[in-house]
Amino acid sequence: MSGRVLHAQLHLLDRQLIDRADGHLVGKVDDVELDLDADPPVVAALISGRVEIPAGRIAEVESAVTISTDGLDLDYYDNWIEHHIIDKIPGAGDATE
């Protein structure tokens, strides 16, 4: 009956988050929200920076945690820097040669 065992701190905390759609790196797991009043108690969400990732978005827990990012604003700062700095430099959107 028992399934796979994971340890919250060891396997979740400070792991790399990966976007399931395109494989991009989208942050680190800074904290884990536990719902201890539920029956049974469960992991409710992962916290990365200001963003809360509901547990239902977790796709895989391996050496990194793969999540589905639809509708989550994990790239806020990256996009800000992209639009205000990087995009102004020629060649920002080109693949390297």
Binding site: L13, Q16, L25, D78, I81, I86
Partner: protein, 409 residues
């Protein structure tokens, strides 16, 4: 046939990429002051870098996770941050030294002050990182750096008394006016030059850039176990040249020009041309590696998208970190600080930052969750722990020795 070519290319790149400004300056400096009496440290350092590069390469190939990702994961955000600050500052200091080295090589060739070359060098580094593919930049500068083999040939041409050099190498103690404190201090500097932390950050992040898998394990090991030791031999021949020419003449090495002098004595103008191109390639290649490593460490700690395998705009924070670091490097050098002095300090600080870098690699290389069945065997663990102890001793002793010896004066 194609495979063989790939392996050969990898080894040659590893040899050329091994030597940077830290190795050039420190080996020449130590050879001039201690002869070959500290040569054994190079051997110890090369074994250490092989060991840890192999472990981090294996972890990357099996799990896809580069070193600084793991450092945060295993040490936690607080100790991880300490490791990040230490490693980042050392890597930035090394970047400053490398860009200074590129500019000094141009100054020697042209007579125009290095202060003018330096912004150009930094701009060129950025352009290459911005536009050129990872594997291409690694190979081009690694292969060009092979020109430094001229030091090994020069050593033969200088016709030293080999028996005496060998005898020096077996006598593990200071000579002449040098005391044990300076001997130990420069031992740590040599150790730091051989095992510089950025080499492992770059190596393991490069594994991700080139999408290593389990099938690349063999190639990765060949590159490490053949390429790095041959790179170490290059280091030793730089030391040997200084030991043969400078030690008897009472010349202490304090400039990049002096580092090149033995090749001039051996081969004249052609030798100088070759050694200057080699120095340029070695320092420019290392400037690329350290600039990238500045970005790798911070981005991997924070979980940001990084790397050259995506377009720059997709890893915008990573590229901004690199640009900021290059600007900082130029600003620091514009204060007319001596790049050779910066190098001398950077290798000692590198030795101080090493234990926090290597502990997480050693732990993860034992964890089946990451490396499956490719965990460390008892021998590798024994040697790994021995080196961890060695690194810790060097790290703790570095600052007191720096104070006692007035930074090796």
């Amino acid at each position: 046939m194609k495979k063989l070519l790939g392996v050969t290319l990898g080894i040659l790149t590893a040899i050329g990429g091994f030597v940077d400004i830290g190795d050039l300056v420190t080996n020449a400096l130590v050879g001039a002051r201690f002869g070959m009496h500290l040569a054994w440290i190079v051997l110890v350092g090369v074994i250490g870098i092989c060991l840890y590069a192999e472990m981090s390469g294996r972890v990357v190939a099996m799990s896809g996770r580069p070193v600084f990702d793991l450092i945060r994961e295993r040490l936690g955000p607080r100790t991880g941050l300490l490791a990040l600050v230490a490693s980042f500052l050392v890597t930035l200091l090394t970047l400053i030294a490398e860009i200074g080295g590129v500019a000094l090589a141009f100054e020697l060739a042209s007579g125009v002050s290095y202060l003018l070359w330096m912004p150009l060098a930094a701009l060129a580094v950025w352009l290459v990182i911005w536009r050129v593919k990872f594997s291409r930049l690694e190979q081009a500068f690694g292969l060009l750096g092979l020109l430094l083999i001229v030091f090994a040939v020069a050593l033969f041409k200088l016709g030293p008394d080999w028996g005496q050099l060998l005898h020096q190498a077996t006598q593990l103690h200071p000579i002449g006016h040098e005391g044990w404190a300076t001997y130990a201090y420069y031992g740590i500097a040599l150790f730091g030059a051989a095992m510089t932390p950025y080499e492992v950050f770059f190596f393991s992040s490069g594994g991700v850039e080139e999408k290593w898998t389990r099938r690349d394990l063999g190639t990765e090991r060949t590159n490490v176990f053949i390429g790095f030791p041959l790179g170490g031999l290059l280091s030793l021949s730089i030391m040997g040249c200084a030991a043969v020419l400078f030690l008897p003449a009472g010349i202490q090495v304090g400039t990049l020009g002096q580092v090149a002098l033995p090749v001039v004595v051996a081969f004249g103008k052609i030798g100088l041309a070759v050694v200057l191109i080699g120095m340029f390639a070695a320092t420019f290649g290392a400037a690329l590696e350290t600039a990238l490593s500045c970005g790798y460490t911070i981005a991997q700690y924070r979980g940001w998208q990084w790397g050259k395998f995506v377009r720059p705009r997709e890893a915008s924070r990573f590229h901004v970190v690199i640009i900021v670091c290059l600007v900082l490097a130029v600003l620091t050098l514009l204060t007319a600080v001596d790049p050779v002095k910066v190098t001398e300090y950077s290798v000692v600080f590198a030795a101080m930052a090493l234990p926090l870098t290597y502990l997480p690699i050693l732990i993860v290389a034992n964890d089946p969750d990451y490396v499956g069945r490719e965990t460390n065997g008892p021998v590798r663990n024994a040697v790994g722990l021995f080196y961890l102890a060695l690194l810790t001793i060097a790290s703790v002793a570095a600052i007191p020795l720096m104070i006692i010896t007035k930074a090796g004066a």
